[in-house]
Subunit: 217 residues, 2 copies
Amino acid sequence: MPQYKLTYFDGRGRAEVTRLLFAVAGVNFQDNRIGVSIPPQPSQLPIWLDMKPNTPFGQLPLLEFDGKLIAQSHAIERYLAREFGLYGEGNYEMALTDMWIDSFEELISPIIQYNFGPGGDTEKAEQKKKYLETTLPTYFKKLETDLGNNSSGYLVGKGLTVGDLYVLKHNEWVMVSFGEEGQMAVKKYPNVQAHIKRISALPKVAAWLEKRPQNKF
Amino acid sequence: MPQYKLTYFDGRGRAEVTRLLFAVAGVNFQDNRIGVSIPPQPSQLPIWLDMKPNTPFGQLPLLEFDGKLIAQSHAIERYLAREFGLYGEGNYEMALTDMWIDSFEELISPIIQYNFGPGGDTEKAEQKKKYLETTLPTYFKKLETDLGNNSSGYLVGKGLTVGDLYVLKHNEWVMVSFGEEGQMAVKKYPNVQAHIKRISALPKVAAWLEKRPQNKF
């Protein structure tokens, strides 16, 4: 097994699904946190600004192993999902997993904007309202239906995929960002709620959630 | 071979790389354009508004075949790239292809905002400046280097991948959106320029570029 090194900020953010993939596969990795929190404290910023120009696209996370380097969080997730058999069976199930990764990107990226992007109180309130009343329901309608139609208890096919981990991860984003209002919004989707409970209780997932570093984001 | 049906607007947009994949693989598909241009004319809007609620995420394109349905443009592209052998050899090359698909998404999505998003003249001028002076160089620095390091003449590994088609597609976006200023910005990357010329001249690519419907976007 290669020595995997995952480099990211000291936070969950765009690395946590990768960490979950390692945890679920039972594969050790170096969880290299560069000592910069999310969002960065002013005193930490020089660390990242020094490092940034030496990354492929001025971004983290990065995955290194066997002298190889992968940038882009979803490229890292897909690589490990293929490696660990967490992508679905056959090309069509892989496509459904891809579809959900891209859909969760469209769900998570406005939450990141909400938390860290520009805008005053009025704008933030509008962003929150739009997210909970329009964006989330658009995707959750299909998520709820698909989970209801799949008797396996997973999002795609008969086994765990990176898609299931994204259901979990997105829910963390909603809770930490929108609190009780977020809780109210997702409560309307009982299949999604049951799914989150079920996936969180898988022994290797539960062990990671228990032992991982405490970070807000 | 399944009967593929690709449903999209009457434009290139987020379906054109999929059409290129079919063209390169020499596989027939139904190029189902719903009679709504990009951007839609007001008189065409009802067609799309009628259809939108019946799509999985309120979006196009969609790919249908054998009673199956895939939403999300990149999920469609990845499915066909796996099917047609246009994803690279082995897991690591596939990861590099994934990395470039995601990077081109980050390059193309601000161009879509520039063309179709809100903002007056001042804001548009700022968006253009930021794109050509900051965004594009961030990704093109690595693109230029990677192309220079790969003696095969392709972006990833020894053969054509969806990554090469994105180099082409992105260049179309830059040209149609930023005109001469775009041309000036990309001229600084001779490997990228040579690559675009080479990929455009591949017989199956050239044939598609020649015969495809004329659309601005």
